[in-house]
Symmetry: C2
Subunit: 209 residues, 2 copies
């Protein structure tokens, strides 16, 4: 099957809208994160080499390396969300006639649910990092393309808040409450202060337009 | 040249990150809007036909038609942003040796700048509409896929705030102040209350997870 990242935007949107459960919101969240990282990369690429921005050239080079690495991670998560969903559905389809089968099925579901919690949490972490990179791009990047840093931060924020919803769903179904609480707490610590950080970056961009 | 919507996600992201100025934030904004509409469509498609949701079936049918029409509009805007940018660059490249050439060039730039204001403003209007559709999906859609309505609203909001930045840039360069003020005011009236509306939809989704 074609890797989702190799599908066209039109096909991706068509499949998103369709009644097939994947791709869904988890892939959309990862795509928004990847898009944010790509836009940070664009700001770097259009800042590096401009005499006016020679002073921040080295910093932009480091930022570009970070944003490109982050983009690769987030692009991979577009597919990871589909994969873990498919594995979860396979577990739900396991036989449940005997007590032994029921126990094996439940154990398999719980095991994959932990992965299904980890995938959007990892997306949330990556989007959080992207917001930080957006701030640098917004403060130091070429003012001529600074709106792209603003689009990037909104995209990263949407990716983060979207991934959060998928974490909430999965922690709610976990029987291992200690694991669930730990993941939920990590998510809250990521979300804390994020709205303010995003507002700050957006404001910086607006001031530099 | 390949229409941008027929390019793969990977190619789109690569081109976004590259130093070529298009695609840029305007296309990213339209894609987020289209993605929001697609996710509303998904919620409708996974609600229609379910006996538990028979009561809202007709409403979901109407919502699906509206979201699919909106998706088509927004998908078209991914390319429209590139097109108007290319036209604007062509104007900036016009000769400016003689006074007559300067005047013709300036007139051409101002004319295309009006279009370049209208394109993201139209994207902002469409994303605003999408937020309204997200609310219906969040309130009435199948609870089993309700997180997708939450991802949709964040995507639409990011699209709207991103499009707004592109409106701000272009109105700032317009010499026709009456036109510029009118467009800026329309944008402000769209933005007004949007944050609260988005927060409300997100909260409804969280409560129904």
């Amino acid at each position: 099957m074609t890797n989702i990242k190799d599908k066209s935007l039109q096909t991706y949107l068509d499949e998103l809208a369709s009644k097939t459960p994947t791709p869904g919101g988890g892939s959309a969240a990862a795509l928004m994160g990847a898009q944010a990282a790509a836009l940070v990369g664009m700001v770097c690429n259009l800042t590096i080499g401009k005499p006016k921005y020679a002073e921040v050239e080295a910093e932009m080079g480091v930022l570009l390396d970070r944003s490109e690495a982050l983009r690769e991670r987030l692009t991979g998560m577009i597919k990871a969300d589909v994969d873990v969903f498919d594995r979860l559905m396979a577990c739900y389809g396991m036989p449940k006639e005997t007590e032994q089968q029921k126990a094996a099925r439940s154990e398999a579901i719980q095991s994959v649910l932990k992965e299904a919690t980890e995938v959007p949490l990892e997306c949330a972490r990556a989007c959080f990092e992207a917001i930080d990179l957006c701030r640098i791009a917004a403060e130091k990047g070429n003012a001529g393309v600074i709106s792209d840093a603003g689009v990037a931060v909104m995209s990263a924020y949407a990716g983060l808040k979207s991934a959060a919803l998928n974490v909430y769903i999965n922690v709610g179904s976990l029987k291992d409450k200690e694991f669930a609480d730990r993941k939920a707490q990590e998510l809250e610590s990521i979300l804390e202060g994020t709205e303010q950080a995003v507002d700050d970056v957006y404001r910086i961009v607006k001031e530099r337009l």
